[in-house]
Structures are given as C-alpha cells and as structure tokens.
C-alpha cells in the first residue's frame, strides 16, 4: 500500500469515528441484587438490541444496602442510570426528590401496558396522582409455619386473631430447648400487618400526621415485648435482616415466620426438613399483608427517555415477564403471566404453588406501604423507638410517644 493511501485511509477512519459514535446509544440498567438472572438478562439485552440497532446496554447490579448509596452518587455526578429496578418505598422517595420520570404519559399512551398489571400492585407507585414505576416482580408477606412443631404443641392450625397468634407462639416457645414460637422480618415495614390487624395506622389519610400513638398500639407493643422477653417471639425478629431470621426458621426451631414469598426459596435451600408435609402456609390473621414490590423506573436525567421506556415496555412484555416468573418462581403482577405460572406450579411444585397463591389473594388488604417522599426518614424515626420498646429498653408508652414526636418532626420537614 502506498503511504499516501494509508494516510488517507487512516484520516477517513478517524473522522468517521465520531459519526459512528453519534449513531449508537447507550442505555444503563441498574438492578437490585438479581445477578442470579444474568443469563436471562443477556438474552433480553440481545433481543432488545436486535430490535433497536445501535443501542448498547450496560447492566449494573447492586445488593440492597449498596444500591441507594450508589444511585445517590450517580445522581450527584449527573450520570444516573437510565432504567432502574427499585424495591419498596424508595421508588416514591426518589420520585418525590425529582429523580424519576413520571410514567403516566407513557401509560396513557400505551393502555395495553397498564392493563397488563394487577392494579392493586400498580397503585403502590402512585404519588400525587402520577405513576412512577411499573411492576417488575412482586411479593407480599405470608405466614409460614412448622407443622411438626404445631402438632407437638397440640395446635390444629394457624391463628385467626392476634391474641391467638401470640398464644400459639407461647405454646410452641415453651416446647423445648432453644425453641421459639414466632419470628418476623422487620425491614421495609414487613411487620406492620401485626399492627394493622389490630386496627392501627401509621399516619392520617392525608399522610401529614402520625396517628399510631394510641392505647391500642401501646397494648399491642406491650404484648409483643412480653412475648419477646420470653420464648414466644424470637428476638432476631427485631434486629436481624434476612439471613439470620430465615436461617433461624430453617433450623426447624421456630414455629411461625412472617416473611414474603421469596423467603420460601431461601428456606427450602437451608432447611432439609421442609417439604409439603412439614411446611404450612397461610395468611396472617385478618388477611393483612405487607407488599415488597420491585418496579422499573426511569431516571429523570436520562438522555433517552423514549428509549428507556421502550426498554421497560420490552422487559414487562409477556415473553420476558413469563421468563422471569418461570426462572425465579416469582409473581410479576402481570396477570396472565402469573396465572400461567400458577398453572405450571400446581402440577410441578405444589408447595411453591401454595406459597405463591397467597400472593394473589387479598391484594385489597395490603398495608405498610405509604407513598411518602421521606419514607426512609420516617422509618428511622419510628423503628428504633419500637425496638427500644420491644427489646425492653423503654416502656411502650414512652417509646411510642417519642416515636410520634420524631415522626411528626420528619413530616414537618418534608
């Protein structure tokens, strides 16, 4: 090759690079601790980029405690991920801070997408009349119970009231060394059904005043504290996060567990005793439950909002949602997909079917999820004081008075 030709070719390539770069788009997707589905996501990304030539997808996955700090730093740097998977109330918090794009116009323009979903679950992400996320996968709390421990304690079946729940827990806790009767998860308000079944609400309907500091909640807290001081309620209920409480139940020494459906798969992996004859599933008394929802949101700072929406629409399409449901044995709030999953499980995994059936029932009795712009601050104001009462550091009345004062202060600041 002559030198002149070589130089001309190099110059042409160098000049063409910007043009090539401008014609390709990059979409960043941040997910919440779901790296086990890497193969599934790779297939999705390949299919999406085949439909949208020139698009490159960057996938980031963070564990639950790491995602919020990571997202904050990306917001501060002005480079937020385009699409994100958020859990629980943090979606509304980010929406209130102005970090997320209002999805209402997209859902209005695509009524078929809105119609896919169970509306009770979709409405969890409505704030100030706008929808900020759409469902990715959903779960809510249920009661797992250890049938052999129930039989040993002479109990016929799960409790139908709060006092009966505590009575069952006390009987099981008295039954043997290191045995306790009841355990609950405590993050993201997952324990709130215990209060709601007693008619206690956290905030007024306009979400501006704390209303929980009532004689009833004092009474309920005192009962829970007494049960925790003994062997009826396992103390890890109020201090553990995921591995320790579930490990305790999987060990076979705890009678009942209040947790959401994904806990079943962890328990099954850890507890050799668990099978259809030994693990019971039921709703909590009053059929109250607390949802733990994962939803897709779009950052307001995205440079490609329409492309981000196209990605969200793709991920929540029938094929992808079915793949997610089948792979992870989880409900998606996409009604047809969830019905199909339940059909498979009824034949193939009856116990998983029983667990997930509770997720589809009584979705009109969801509690513990308030569309608050400062959900994490309200939690930080309330929960430590509740812990003080439940673990015996303070009496229930003083602790709840203090919690009410702190929650009111956070609501004023919002």
């Amino acid at each position: 090759m002559k030198r002149r030709t070589f130089l001309a070719g190099t110059a042409a390539t160098a000049l063409a690079r910007p043009a090539i770069a401008q014609s390709s788009k990059k979409l960043t997707f941040l997910s919440w601790n779901i790296v086990d589905q890497a193969d599934m996501f790779k297939r999705w990304f390949a299919a999406f980029t085949a439909e949208h030539p020139g698009v490159e997808i960057e996938w980031l996955d963070k564990k639950g405690p790491d995602l919020p700090p990571f997202y904050q730093t990306q917001l501060a740097a002005g480079t937020p991920p385009d699409v994100l998977d958020l859990q629980g109330g943090i979606g509304i918090e980010y929406a209130a801070q102005g970090a997320l794009l209002d999805l209402t116009p997209y859902l209005t323009a695509h009524p078929d997408v809105r119609a896919r979903f169970n509306q009770d679950y979709l409405n969890n992400w409505v704030w100030e009349g706008k929808t900020w996320l759409v469902p990715f996968y959903v779960a809510k709390t249920l009661l797992f119970y250890n049938k052999p421990l129930f039989q040993k304690a002479g109990l016929a079946g799960p409790a139908t009231s709060f006092d009966e729940l505590l009575a069952h827990a006390e009987k099981i806790g008295a039954g043997g060394t290191d045995q306790t009767g009841f355990l609950t998860l405590n993050f993201d308000w997952l324990y709130w059904a215990l209060f709601k079944m007693n008619g206690v609400d956290l905030l007024s309907p306009d979400l501006k005043q704390p209303v929980f500091d009532t004689p009833k909640l004092v009474e309920v807290t005192e009962k829970l504290a007494k049960a925790t001081a003994g062997t009826a309620i396992n103390k890890i209920s109020w201090t553990g996060r995921w591995v320790e409480p579930l490990g305790a139940f999987a060990s076979g020494k705890v009678g009942m567990l209040n947790a959401h459906a994904p806990a079943y798969f962890f328990l099954k992996g850890q507890g050799a005793w668990i099978n259809q004859d030994t693990l019971g599933v039921a709703e909590l008394p009053g059929n109250w439950s607390v949802p733990t929802l994962h939803g897709y949101g779009i950052s307001k700072g995205t440079k490609n909002p329409d492309l981000a929406w196209a990605f969200v629409e793709f991920c929540t399409a029938r094929k992808q949602a079915q793949e997610m449901a089948d792979s992870r044995r989880v409900l998606t709030a996409y009604t047809e997909v969830d019905n199909a999953l339940m059909g498979h499980l009824e034949k193939d995994e009856p116990l998983a079917h029983a667990v997930l059936a509770t997720q589809l029932e009584h979705t009109d009795k969801l509690c513990g999820n308030w569309p608050l712009p400062n959900d994490s601050r309200i939690k930080d104001a309330f929960y430590p004081e509740l812990q003080n009462a439940l673990l015996g550091r303070k009496d229930a009345k003083s602790a709840l008075d203090e919690a009410s004062r702190k929650v009111a202060r956070e609501l004023r600041r919002a």
Binding site: Q72, A99, K235, W238, K300, P384, Q387
Partner: protein, 287 residues
Amino acid sequence: MALVACFLAPSLLIFLLYRILPLIWNVVLSFEAWSPLHAATWVGWDNYDEMLHDDDVFWQALWNTLIFMASQPIGVAIALGIALLVNSDLKGAAVYRTIVFLSYPLMTVAVAIIWRWMYNERGGLINFVLRRLGIIHQPIAFLDSFAWALPSTIVANTWQVLGFFMIVLLTGLQNIPPHLYEAARVDGAPAWARLFRITLPMLKPSLFLCAVISILNSFAAFDLVYVMTNGGPGHGTELLITYIYKVGFGQTRFDYAAALTVAQFVLLLALAWLANRASGGNAGALE
C-alpha cells in the same frame, strides 16, 4: 528551591485536590441545604442547630463513640502486657508474637463476620462454651441486647488491633538501652520500680502513637460496626461515623451529614491536641 518546589508540586496538588478542597467544600455544604437534584441554598447555622438541639441520635452516637474511645486504653494495656511477655525470655515468645499479630492483617469485614458468628445466640461459640461451663443457662443475645451490643463490638475491635499495638510497643521496648535496667538492678530497684521508672517513661513515644491511633480507630470503626450490628439495636451501637453514613446515603441529607462530619472533625482535632498536651507537648518525644 525551584527544584524542590517542582518535586513537591505533584503531591501537594493531589493533597490539595483530594484533601483540602473537599474539606472546604464539606464545611461550606454544612451551611447549606442541598441535594443532588436541587441547587444549594444558604441556611446558615440551621444544620448545627438541629444537630445540637433536635437530634438525640447524634448525642447517642457521640456518647457511643466516646465510650468506644475510652475503652481503647484497655487494649493498649493488654498489648503492653503481651509485649512485655514476648520481650522476655519466655519460651516460644516468637510464636506467641506471631499468633497475636495475626489478627491485625485480617480485613475488618472478615473480623466482624467471625465475631458475629461467635456471638450468635443460636449456635455461636461463646454461648456454647458459657453454657457448657454452666456459667449461663440461657444463651445471651450479645448483639441484640442493649446491654451487651456495644461492649461486644468493643471486644471485637480490641482483638483486631491488639497485634498492631503489641508490635509498636515491642519495638519501643527493644529500643530501651539495656544498661538502664542493669544500673537499676545494681541499685536494688524492684521489678515494679523498673517498670514505672524506666519502661513506661521510655515508652512515651510509642504509647503516644498507640493513643493517637486508638483515638482515630474509635472514630473510624465504620466497617466493624456496620457489619456486626449496623448501629443497632435501636442506635445502641451507633457511632458518629455510621450515623454520618446513614444520614448522607440512607436519608439523602448530604448537607446535614456534612455538618455532622465537621463536628466530628473538630472533636478529633480537640482530642489530638489534648493527647499532645497530656504527653508533654511534643508528640510524646523524649527530652
């Protein structure tokens, strides 16, 4: 001079960019209301007012941090005892020295996980041994108890840094001129007199170093507390550093977290100054 300036310039530039400027920005931020999505507005002393008058978690975290700090001399005293032992003619002293030091290079997260397992109420080693010995009949929820959680984290922290303090003090011991001890023996000085009149005064620089490092350690024990207890139960083990992290990244209040950081910085400066004064005013140097 020009040549000196040229060689120093890169390091000074990095120091300026990554230490001084962020420090100044942090102080400015503490007087503002700011979030990643909204422009900053000047609020004056509001954040400090909240911290001092309307934030009991701050006072709890400060108190816990001071308790953590006050417990550090126990670790230094134990390390001194071990250093004195391994500096003697004890058989196998080199092996003991290595064993004690092994805890220090471990990652703090690993130390926290190990101790969390050991403290576990259900299957932890400590409860198992105590029950086997008949000292307790019911397991103790070390990390879930308001009474036990903070001391438990302090024990884990002390265990980890013991090896480092031992090495520092051992080095100091080995630098003490032997003729001082010979002269004291000749004069009939008993062991306790040699310890208090020769060993401890000559160890002043090493002890000062251990004191300063232990103070800094108590303010920086984020990873240990975060993994072991996450500040719980009910802020029972919350340190200033863990609280700053939660306020900044959990509650998205970077402005208020900046004010807390400034308060911690001022406190650290004051403690370092006091430590210097207590040791004679010259960073513990011998005169």
